[in-house]
Protein backbone atom coordinates (compact mmCIF):
# COMPACT_ATOMS: atom_id res chain seq x y z
CA UNK A 1 0.00 0.00 0.00
CA UNK A 2 1.36 3.39 -0.95
CA UNK A 3 1.38 6.10 1.69
CA UNK A 4 1.80 9.82 1.19
CA UNK A 5 3.70 12.03 3.60
CA UNK A 6 3.57 15.80 3.25
CA UNK A 7 6.33 17.84 4.82
CA UNK A 8 4.94 21.28 5.59
CA UNK A 9 7.00 24.27 6.72
CA UNK A 10 5.19 27.23 8.26
CA UNK A 11 5.91 30.54 9.95
CA UNK A 12 5.51 28.88 13.33
CA UNK A 13 6.77 25.35 13.02
CA UNK A 14 6.74 22.22 10.85
CA UNK A 15 3.91 19.76 10.35
CA UNK A 16 3.81 16.28 8.88
CA UNK A 17 0.60 15.18 7.16
CA UNK A 18 0.27 11.47 6.43
CA UNK A 19 -2.30 9.47 4.47
CA UNK A 20 -2.64 6.08 2.84
CA UNK A 21 -2.75 5.70 -0.93
CA UNK A 22 -6.41 6.68 -1.05
CA UNK A 23 -5.48 10.16 0.16
CA UNK A 24 -8.82 10.74 1.82
CA UNK A 25 -7.99 10.59 5.53
CA UNK A 26 -4.96 12.42 6.88
CA UNK A 27 -3.22 12.44 10.23
CA UNK A 28 -1.52 15.67 11.22
CA UNK A 29 1.56 15.69 13.43
CA UNK A 30 3.20 18.81 14.80
CA UNK A 31 4.07 21.48 15.34
CA UNK A 32 7.72 20.48 15.30
CA UNK A 33 10.14 23.28 16.27
CA UNK A 34 7.17 25.33 17.43
CA UNK A 35 7.52 29.06 17.18
CA UNK A 36 10.37 28.95 14.63
CA UNK A 37 10.14 29.77 10.94
CA UNK A 38 10.48 26.58 8.93
CA UNK A 39 11.36 27.64 5.42
CA UNK A 40 11.74 24.14 4.05
CA UNK A 41 11.50 20.47 5.00
CA UNK A 42 12.65 17.93 2.43
CA UNK A 43 13.33 14.20 2.38
CA UNK A 44 15.94 12.09 0.64
CA UNK A 45 14.62 10.44 -2.54
CA UNK A 46 16.66 7.31 -1.83
CA UNK A 47 16.03 7.11 1.92
CA UNK A 48 12.69 8.82 2.58
CA UNK A 49 12.93 8.58 6.35
CA UNK A 50 16.00 10.83 6.16
CA UNK A 51 14.51 14.30 6.34
CA UNK A 52 16.23 17.68 6.60
CA UNK A 53 14.56 20.81 7.97
CA UNK A 54 15.59 24.45 7.89
CA UNK A 55 14.62 26.12 11.17
CA UNK A 56 15.33 29.81 11.61
CA UNK A 57 14.54 32.84 13.70
CA UNK A 58 15.37 36.52 13.56
CA UNK A 59 16.52 36.21 17.16
CA UNK A 60 18.51 33.00 17.29
CA UNK A 61 19.59 32.44 13.69
CA UNK A 62 19.73 29.26 11.67
CA UNK A 63 19.29 25.67 12.83
CA UNK A 64 19.40 22.55 10.66
CA UNK A 65 17.41 19.61 11.96
CA UNK A 66 17.62 16.05 10.71
CA UNK A 67 15.38 13.07 11.21
CA UNK A 68 16.32 9.49 10.40
CA UNK A 69 12.93 8.00 11.22
CA UNK A 70 10.50 9.88 9.01
CA UNK A 71 10.05 12.81 11.34
CA UNK A 72 9.29 11.00 14.59
CA UNK A 73 12.49 12.25 16.22
CA UNK A 74 14.88 15.02 15.27
CA UNK A 75 18.44 16.04 16.00
CA UNK A 76 20.93 18.75 15.14
CA UNK A 77 23.72 16.79 13.50
CA UNK A 78 27.25 17.94 13.16
CA UNK A 79 30.46 18.56 14.91
CA UNK A 80 33.88 19.76 14.02
CA UNK A 81 35.89 16.90 12.59
CA UNK A 82 38.43 17.32 15.37
CA UNK A 83 35.80 16.99 18.09
CA UNK A 84 33.82 14.00 19.24
CA UNK A 85 30.49 13.53 17.52
CA UNK A 86 28.65 13.89 20.81
CA UNK A 87 29.16 15.82 23.98
CA UNK A 88 30.09 14.03 27.23
CA UNK A 89 26.37 13.77 27.94
CA UNK A 90 25.66 12.12 24.61
CA UNK A 91 24.20 15.21 23.00
CA UNK A 92 25.08 16.00 19.37
CA UNK A 93 27.64 18.72 18.85
CA UNK A 94 26.36 21.82 17.15
CA UNK A 95 28.07 22.82 13.97
CA UNK A 96 25.28 21.92 11.59
CA UNK A 97 24.09 25.53 11.53
CA UNK A 98 27.47 26.93 10.55
CA UNK A 99 27.12 28.47 7.09
CA UNK A 100 30.28 30.44 6.48
CA UNK A 101 31.05 31.89 3.07
CA UNK A 102 34.22 30.57 1.51
CA UNK A 103 36.69 33.45 1.43
CA UNK A 104 39.80 31.34 1.03
CA UNK A 105 42.37 32.29 -1.57
CA UNK A 106 42.23 28.82 -3.09
CA UNK A 107 38.54 28.23 -3.63
CA UNK A 108 36.66 31.25 -2.35
CA UNK A 109 36.04 34.79 -3.40
CA UNK A 110 37.62 37.08 -0.79
CA UNK A 111 36.00 40.43 -0.21
CA UNK A 112 33.26 39.83 -2.78
CA UNK A 113 30.23 42.06 -2.57
CA UNK A 114 26.85 42.42 -4.22
CA UNK A 115 24.66 45.37 -5.02
CA UNK A 116 22.64 46.79 -2.12
CA UNK A 117 19.27 48.53 -2.30
CA UNK A 118 20.91 51.95 -2.55
CA UNK A 119 23.20 50.89 -5.39
CA UNK A 120 26.31 50.59 -3.24
CA UNK A 121 28.26 47.39 -2.86
CA UNK A 122 27.46 45.30 0.21
CA UNK A 123 29.23 42.28 1.67
CA UNK A 124 27.52 38.91 1.60
CA UNK A 125 25.85 38.26 4.97
CA UNK A 126 24.28 34.91 5.81
CA UNK A 127 20.67 35.20 6.94
CA UNK A 128 18.95 31.82 6.55
CA UNK A 129 18.52 28.64 4.55
CA UNK A 130 15.61 28.95 2.14
CA UNK A 131 15.76 25.61 0.40
CA UNK A 132 17.15 22.13 1.06
CA UNK A 133 17.64 19.76 -1.87
CA UNK A 134 18.79 16.26 -0.91
CA UNK A 135 20.93 14.35 -3.39
CA UNK A 136 19.17 11.97 -5.73
CA UNK A 137 21.45 9.07 -4.76
CA UNK A 138 23.12 9.74 -1.40
CA UNK A 139 21.12 10.45 1.77
CA UNK A 140 24.12 12.13 3.42
CA UNK A 141 24.49 14.66 0.63
CA UNK A 142 22.23 17.68 0.52
CA UNK A 143 22.37 21.15 -1.03
CA UNK A 144 21.25 24.31 0.74
CA UNK A 145 20.21 27.51 -1.00
CA UNK A 146 20.75 30.43 1.34
CA UNK A 147 20.26 34.17 1.79
CA UNK A 148 22.46 36.11 0.91
CA UNK A 149 22.48 34.08 -2.25
CA UNK A 150 24.89 31.18 -2.19
CA UNK A 151 24.86 27.42 -2.55
CA UNK A 152 26.14 25.18 0.24
CA UNK A 153 26.60 21.42 0.27
CA UNK A 154 26.93 18.77 2.94
CA UNK A 155 28.26 15.29 2.31
CA UNK A 156 28.11 14.12 5.91
CA UNK A 157 24.43 14.27 6.72
CA UNK A 158 24.42 17.98 7.62
CA UNK A 159 27.19 17.75 10.20
CA UNK A 160 29.11 20.34 8.20
CA UNK A 161 28.35 22.60 5.25
CA UNK A 162 30.70 24.00 2.65
CA UNK A 163 30.02 26.67 0.10
CA UNK A 164 30.17 25.96 -3.62
CA UNK A 165 31.82 29.32 -4.03
CA UNK A 166 32.12 29.49 -7.79
CA UNK A 167 28.44 30.40 -8.07
CA UNK A 168 28.73 33.47 -5.86
CA UNK A 169 31.99 34.19 -7.65
CA UNK A 170 30.25 34.38 -11.03
CA UNK A 171 31.42 37.44 -12.93
CA UNK A 172 27.98 38.99 -12.54
CA UNK A 173 27.96 38.50 -8.73
CA UNK A 174 28.64 42.17 -7.94
CA UNK A 175 25.52 43.05 -9.99
CA UNK A 176 23.15 40.77 -8.08
CA UNK A 177 20.68 42.68 -5.93
CA UNK A 178 18.12 41.63 -3.33
CA UNK A 179 14.42 41.47 -4.07
CA UNK A 180 11.88 42.56 -1.50
CA UNK A 181 12.30 39.26 0.31
CA UNK A 182 16.06 39.47 0.45
CA UNK A 183 18.69 38.14 -1.92
CA UNK A 184 17.91 34.48 -1.70
CA UNK A 185 18.93 31.37 -3.55
CA UNK A 186 15.56 29.67 -3.31
CA UNK A 187 15.56 26.95 -5.96
CA UNK A 188 17.95 24.06 -6.48
CA UNK A 189 17.15 21.53 -9.22
CA UNK A 190 19.31 18.45 -9.73
CA UNK A 191 19.46 16.83 -13.16
CA UNK A 192 18.48 13.18 -12.68
CA UNK A 193 20.56 12.03 -15.65
CA UNK A 194 23.67 14.13 -15.14
CA UNK A 195 25.13 14.41 -11.64
CA UNK A 196 27.30 17.32 -12.66
CA UNK A 197 24.38 19.46 -13.83
CA UNK A 198 22.64 21.63 -11.24
CA UNK A 199 20.27 24.55 -11.72
CA UNK A 200 19.86 27.36 -9.20
CA UNK A 201 17.54 30.34 -9.14
CA UNK A 202 18.19 33.55 -7.26
CA UNK A 203 15.98 36.54 -6.52
CA UNK A 204 16.76 38.90 -8.05
CA UNK A 205 19.60 37.66 -10.21
CA UNK A 206 18.09 34.90 -12.30
CA UNK A 207 18.88 31.30 -13.16
CA UNK A 208 22.29 29.68 -13.25
CA UNK A 209 23.54 26.27 -14.36
CA UNK A 210 26.66 24.26 -13.73
CA UNK A 211 27.70 21.33 -15.91
CA UNK A 212 30.77 20.41 -13.91
CA UNK A 213 29.42 19.82 -10.42
CA UNK A 214 29.70 23.44 -9.33
CA UNK A 215 33.20 24.36 -10.48
CA UNK A 216 31.84 26.86 -13.00
CA UNK A 217 28.43 28.42 -13.59
CA UNK A 218 26.62 29.97 -16.52
CA UNK A 219 23.84 32.53 -16.31
CA UNK A 220 20.94 31.07 -18.30
CA UNK A 221 18.43 33.87 -18.66
CA UNK A 222 18.28 34.39 -22.42
CA UNK A 223 14.70 34.99 -23.45
CA UNK A 224 13.57 36.41 -20.12
CA UNK A 225 12.02 39.87 -20.30
CA UNK A 226 11.63 41.86 -17.09
CA UNK A 227 10.23 45.37 -17.21
CA UNK A 228 11.30 45.90 -13.58
CA UNK A 229 14.98 46.25 -14.49
CA UNK A 230 16.65 48.95 -16.61
CA UNK A 231 17.56 46.53 -19.42
CA UNK A 232 14.61 44.12 -19.63
CA UNK A 233 16.72 41.48 -21.38
CA UNK A 234 19.86 41.80 -19.26
CA UNK A 235 21.98 38.73 -18.55
CA UNK A 236 21.15 38.94 -14.83
CA UNK A 237 18.75 40.86 -12.61
CA UNK A 238 15.61 38.84 -13.28
CA UNK A 239 13.37 37.87 -10.38
CA UNK A 240 12.91 34.18 -11.08
CA UNK A 241 10.44 32.72 -8.58
CA UNK A 242 10.70 28.98 -9.19
CA UNK A 243 11.86 26.46 -11.77
CA UNK A 244 10.79 22.83 -12.17
CA UNK A 245 11.65 19.85 -14.34
CA UNK A 246 10.26 16.40 -15.02
CA UNK A 247 12.77 13.58 -14.41
CA UNK A 248 12.00 11.91 -17.73
CA UNK A 249 12.86 15.02 -19.73
CA UNK A 250 15.48 16.96 -17.81
CA UNK A 251 16.34 19.35 -20.65
CA UNK A 252 12.85 20.83 -20.42
CA UNK A 253 12.49 23.40 -17.66
CA UNK A 254 9.50 25.40 -16.59
CA UNK A 255 9.77 28.72 -14.80
CA UNK A 256 7.41 30.96 -12.88
CA UNK A 257 9.04 34.36 -13.04
CA UNK A 258 7.98 37.50 -11.17
CA UNK A 259 5.79 38.03 -14.20
CA UNK A 260 5.59 35.42 -17.00
CA UNK A 261 5.53 31.65 -17.11
CA UNK A 262 8.47 30.46 -19.19
CA UNK A 263 9.69 27.26 -20.80
CA UNK A 264 13.07 26.03 -22.00
CA UNK A 265 13.76 22.89 -24.02
CA UNK A 266 17.52 23.21 -24.11
CA UNK A 267 18.53 23.07 -20.47
CA UNK A 268 17.88 26.73 -19.88
CA UNK A 269 20.03 28.09 -22.70
CA UNK A 270 16.98 29.82 -24.16
CA UNK A 271 13.51 30.51 -22.79
CA UNK A 272 10.15 31.36 -24.33
CA UNK A 273 7.02 32.61 -22.68
CA UNK A 274 4.11 30.16 -22.33
CA UNK A 275 1.76 32.27 -20.20
CA UNK A 276 -0.94 31.94 -22.87
CA UNK A 277 -4.46 32.47 -21.54
CA UNK A 278 -3.63 32.71 -17.82
CA UNK A 279 -5.68 35.42 -16.05
CA UNK A 280 -2.39 36.69 -14.59
CA UNK A 281 1.08 35.38 -15.23
CA UNK A 282 2.39 36.61 -11.89
CA UNK A 283 2.83 33.89 -9.29
CA UNK A 284 5.28 31.93 -7.24
CA UNK A 285 5.12 28.11 -7.52
CA UNK A 286 5.23 25.90 -10.60
CA UNK A 287 5.04 22.10 -10.60
CA UNK A 288 5.12 19.28 -13.15
CA UNK A 289 2.79 16.26 -13.13
CA UNK A 290 4.53 13.08 -11.94
CA UNK A 291 3.85 11.10 -15.12
CA UNK A 292 3.29 13.65 -17.86
CA UNK A 293 6.14 16.09 -18.53
CA UNK A 294 3.79 18.32 -20.54
CA UNK A 295 1.29 18.79 -17.70
CA UNK A 296 2.19 21.69 -15.45
CA UNK A 297 0.52 23.68 -12.68
CA UNK A 298 0.69 27.29 -11.52
CA UNK A 299 -1.31 29.44 -9.11
CA UNK A 300 -1.85 32.89 -10.66
CA UNK A 301 -1.66 35.85 -8.31
CA UNK A 302 -3.12 39.18 -9.30
CA UNK A 303 0.10 41.23 -9.37
CA UNK A 304 3.33 42.05 -7.61
CA UNK A 305 1.47 44.81 -5.81
CA UNK A 306 -1.54 42.67 -4.89
CA UNK A 307 -0.38 39.30 -3.66
CA UNK A 308 -3.72 37.52 -3.81
CA UNK A 309 -5.66 35.58 -6.44
CA UNK A 310 -7.63 37.42 -9.15
CA UNK A 311 -11.29 38.02 -8.29
CA UNK A 312 -10.89 36.52 -4.81
CA UNK A 313 -11.00 33.05 -6.38
CA UNK A 314 -8.34 30.49 -5.52
CA UNK A 315 -7.64 28.73 -8.80
CA UNK A 316 -4.87 26.36 -9.79
CA UNK A 317 -4.23 26.51 -13.52
CA UNK A 318 -3.21 23.38 -15.39
CA UNK A 319 -1.72 23.13 -18.85
CA UNK A 320 -1.64 19.74 -20.54
CA UNK A 321 0.41 21.10 -23.42
CA UNK A 322 3.46 22.39 -21.61
CA UNK A 323 2.05 25.89 -21.42
CA UNK A 324 0.17 28.36 -23.65
CA UNK A 325 -3.23 26.73 -23.11
CA UNK A 326 -4.41 26.68 -19.51
CA UNK A 327 -7.55 25.51 -17.70
CA UNK A 328 -8.75 26.68 -14.31
CA UNK A 329 -9.07 24.02 -11.62
CA UNK A 330 -11.64 25.19 -9.09
CA UNK A 331 -13.59 22.18 -7.85
CA UNK A 332 -13.23 22.20 -4.06
CA UNK A 333 -11.29 25.45 -3.87
CA UNK A 334 -12.81 28.66 -2.45
CA UNK A 335 -14.29 30.75 -5.26
CA UNK A 336 -15.16 33.87 -3.33
CA UNK A 337 -13.54 36.11 -0.73
CA UNK A 338 -10.22 34.33 -0.92
CA UNK A 339 -7.14 36.52 -0.58
CA UNK A 340 -4.34 34.13 0.31
CA UNK A 341 -1.06 33.62 -1.51
CA UNK A 342 0.81 30.43 -2.40
CA UNK A 343 4.56 30.78 -1.98
CA UNK A 344 7.25 29.39 -4.26
CA UNK A 345 8.07 26.20 -2.35
CA UNK A 346 4.49 25.52 -1.27
CA UNK A 347 3.31 23.24 -4.09
CA UNK A 348 4.31 19.63 -4.72
CA UNK A 349 3.20 16.48 -6.50
CA UNK A 350 3.25 12.87 -5.31
CA UNK A 351 4.03 9.78 -7.38
CA UNK A 352 0.86 7.84 -6.68
CA UNK A 353 -1.49 6.92 -9.50
CA UNK A 354 -3.34 9.08 -10.32
CA UNK A 355 -0.90 11.81 -9.50
CA UNK A 356 -1.66 13.83 -6.38
CA UNK A 357 -0.94 17.53 -6.11
CA UNK A 358 -0.81 19.66 -2.96
CA UNK A 359 -0.32 23.27 -2.01
CA UNK A 360 -0.29 25.38 1.13
CA UNK A 361 -1.41 28.98 1.51
CA UNK A 362 -0.41 31.98 3.54
CA UNK A 363 -3.78 31.55 5.24
CA UNK A 364 -2.66 28.23 6.70
CA UNK A 365 -4.69 25.89 4.51
CA UNK A 366 -3.18 22.85 2.82
CA UNK A 367 -5.23 21.61 -0.12
CA UNK A 368 -4.82 18.31 -1.86
CA UNK A 369 -6.03 16.67 -5.03
CA UNK A 370 -5.76 12.93 -5.64
CA UNK A 371 -6.87 13.16 -9.28
CA UNK A 372 -4.25 15.38 -10.90
CA UNK A 373 -6.10 18.54 -9.95
CA UNK A 374 -9.64 17.80 -11.13
CA UNK A 375 -11.02 18.00 -7.58
CA UNK A 376 -9.60 19.45 -4.40
CA UNK A 377 -10.23 19.21 -0.68
CA UNK A 378 -8.62 20.88 2.32
CA UNK A 379 -6.37 18.56 4.30
CA UNK A 380 -5.97 21.06 7.13
CA UNK A 381 -7.33 24.59 7.35
CA UNK A 382 -5.79 26.54 10.18
CA UNK A 383 -2.04 26.12 10.27
CA UNK A 384 0.27 29.12 10.48
CA UNK A 385 1.16 30.67 7.11
CA UNK A 386 2.55 27.89 4.94
CA UNK A 387 6.03 28.45 3.51
CA UNK A 388 6.71 25.09 1.90
CA UNK A 389 5.14 21.76 1.02
CA UNK A 390 6.97 18.63 -0.13
CA UNK A 391 5.30 15.32 -0.97
CA UNK A 392 6.86 11.93 -0.29
CA UNK A 393 5.45 8.77 -1.82
CA UNK A 394 6.19 5.84 0.48
CA UNK A 395 5.94 2.19 -0.49
Amino acid sequence: MTAIRLLVGTRKGAFILTSNGQRTDWSIDGPFFAGWEIYHVNGSPVEPDRIYASQSSSWFGQIIQRSDDGGKTWMQPGSDATEPAVSPDGLPQGESNKFVYDTSEETGKPLSTHQWYDGTQHPWEFARVWHLEPSLDDPDTCYAGVEDAALFKTTDGARTWHEIAALRGHETGPDWAPGAGGMCLHTVVLDPENKDRIYCAISAAGTFRTDDGGKSWKAINRGLHSEQIPDPTAEVGHCVHRIAIHPSRPDTLYMQKHWDVMRSDDGGDTWREVSGNLPSDFGFPIAVHAYDPETIYVVPILSDSLHYPPDGKLRVYRSRSGGETWEALTNGLPQENCYVNVLRDAMAVDKADPCGIYFGTTGGQVYGSSDSGDTWAPIVRDLPAVLSVEAQTLS
Binding site: G35, W36, S57, S58, W59, F60, G61, Q62, I63, Q76, S79, S87, L91, P92, Q93, G94, E95, N97, K98, V100
Partner: protein
Protein backbone atom coordinates in the same frame (compact mmCIF):
# COMPACT_ATOMS: atom_id res chain seq x y z
CA UNK B 1 28.85 27.92 40.13
CA UNK B 2 27.47 30.41 37.59
CA UNK B 3 23.75 30.45 36.89
CA UNK B 4 22.55 31.23 33.36
CA UNK B 5 18.90 31.84 32.48
CA UNK B 6 17.92 30.99 28.91
CA UNK B 7 14.95 32.10 26.78
CA UNK B 8 12.31 29.54 25.91
CA UNK B 9 13.53 28.65 22.41
CA UNK B 10 17.07 28.00 23.58
CA UNK B 11 15.80 25.84 26.43
CA UNK B 12 14.05 23.69 23.85
CA UNK B 13 17.14 23.46 21.65
CA UNK B 14 19.39 22.55 24.58
CA UNK B 15 16.74 20.31 26.15
CA UNK B 16 17.32 21.97 29.49
CA UNK B 17 15.43 23.89 32.15
CA UNK B 18 15.09 27.66 32.20
CA UNK B 19 18.21 27.96 34.29
CA UNK B 20 21.45 26.04 33.86
CA UNK B 21 24.67 26.10 35.84
CA UNK B 22 28.21 26.22 34.50
CA UNK B 23 31.68 26.34 35.99
CA UNK B 24 34.24 28.96 35.02
CA UNK B 25 37.87 29.22 36.01
CA UNK B 26 39.19 32.76 36.21
CA UNK B 27 37.35 36.07 35.77
CA UNK B 28 33.63 35.82 35.12
CA UNK B 29 32.92 37.60 31.83
CA UNK B 30 30.35 37.38 29.04
CA UNK B 31 32.87 35.59 26.88
CA UNK B 32 33.73 33.13 29.63
CA UNK B 33 30.08 32.37 30.30
CA UNK B 34 29.24 31.89 26.62
CA UNK B 35 32.31 29.74 25.98
CA UNK B 36 31.35 27.49 28.88
CA UNK B 37 27.69 27.45 27.90
CA UNK B 38 28.46 26.43 24.30
CA UNK B 39 30.90 23.77 25.48
CA UNK B 40 28.23 22.33 27.75
CA UNK B 41 25.42 22.76 25.19
CA UNK B 42 27.05 22.71 21.73
CA UNK B 43 23.72 22.93 19.97
CA UNK B 44 23.59 26.55 21.14
CA UNK B 45 26.59 27.53 19.04
CA UNK B 46 25.57 30.19 16.56
CA UNK B 47 22.32 30.99 18.34
CA UNK B 48 23.44 33.52 20.97
CA UNK B 49 26.45 34.85 19.09
CA UNK B 50 27.56 34.45 15.50
CA UNK B 51 29.82 31.67 14.38
CA UNK B 52 33.39 32.81 13.66
CA UNK B 53 33.00 36.48 14.68
CA UNK B 54 31.50 35.50 18.07
CA UNK B 55 29.53 38.77 18.04
CA UNK B 56 26.26 38.84 19.96
CA UNK B 57 23.33 38.32 17.64
CA UNK B 58 21.52 41.66 17.25
CA UNK B 59 18.26 40.55 18.86
CA UNK B 60 19.84 38.84 21.84
CA UNK B 61 20.32 40.77 25.07
CA UNK B 62 22.42 40.09 28.17
CA UNK B 63 21.16 41.25 31.58
CA UNK B 64 23.18 41.13 34.79
CA UNK B 65 22.33 42.53 38.20
CA UNK B 66 19.43 44.53 36.82
CA UNK B 67 21.49 46.12 34.06
CA UNK B 68 21.57 45.60 30.31
CA UNK B 69 25.20 44.65 29.72
CA UNK B 70 24.74 43.76 26.05
CA UNK B 71 26.95 46.56 24.86
CA UNK B 72 29.69 46.04 27.42
CA UNK B 73 32.95 44.47 26.37
CA UNK B 74 32.66 40.67 26.29
CA UNK B 75 35.81 40.60 28.38
CA UNK B 76 34.58 42.96 31.11
CA UNK B 77 34.13 41.35 34.48
CA UNK B 78 30.50 40.86 35.43
CA UNK B 79 29.03 41.91 38.80
CA UNK B 80 29.86 39.91 41.89
CA UNK B 81 26.27 38.68 42.19
CA UNK B 82 26.74 36.83 38.88
CA UNK B 83 30.18 35.50 39.82
CA UNK B 84 28.93 34.14 43.12
CA UNK B 85 25.77 32.64 41.67
CA UNK B 86 23.55 34.87 43.81
CA UNK B 87 21.57 35.67 40.68
CA UNK B 88 21.59 34.40 37.09
CA UNK B 89 23.21 35.89 34.02
CA UNK B 90 20.16 36.36 31.83
CA UNK B 91 20.21 35.73 28.08
CA UNK B 92 17.08 37.32 26.65
CA UNK B 93 15.39 37.46 23.26
CA UNK B 94 14.84 41.17 22.62
CA UNK B 95 11.29 42.45 22.77
CA UNK B 96 9.96 43.09 19.28
CA UNK B 97 6.68 44.05 17.71
CA UNK B 98 3.58 45.61 19.14
Amino acid sequence: MIRVALPYHLQVLARCDREVTIQIDGPVTQRGILDALEARYPMLRGTVREHVSLKRRPRVRFFAAGEDVSHESPDAELPKSIATGAEPFRIVGAVAGG
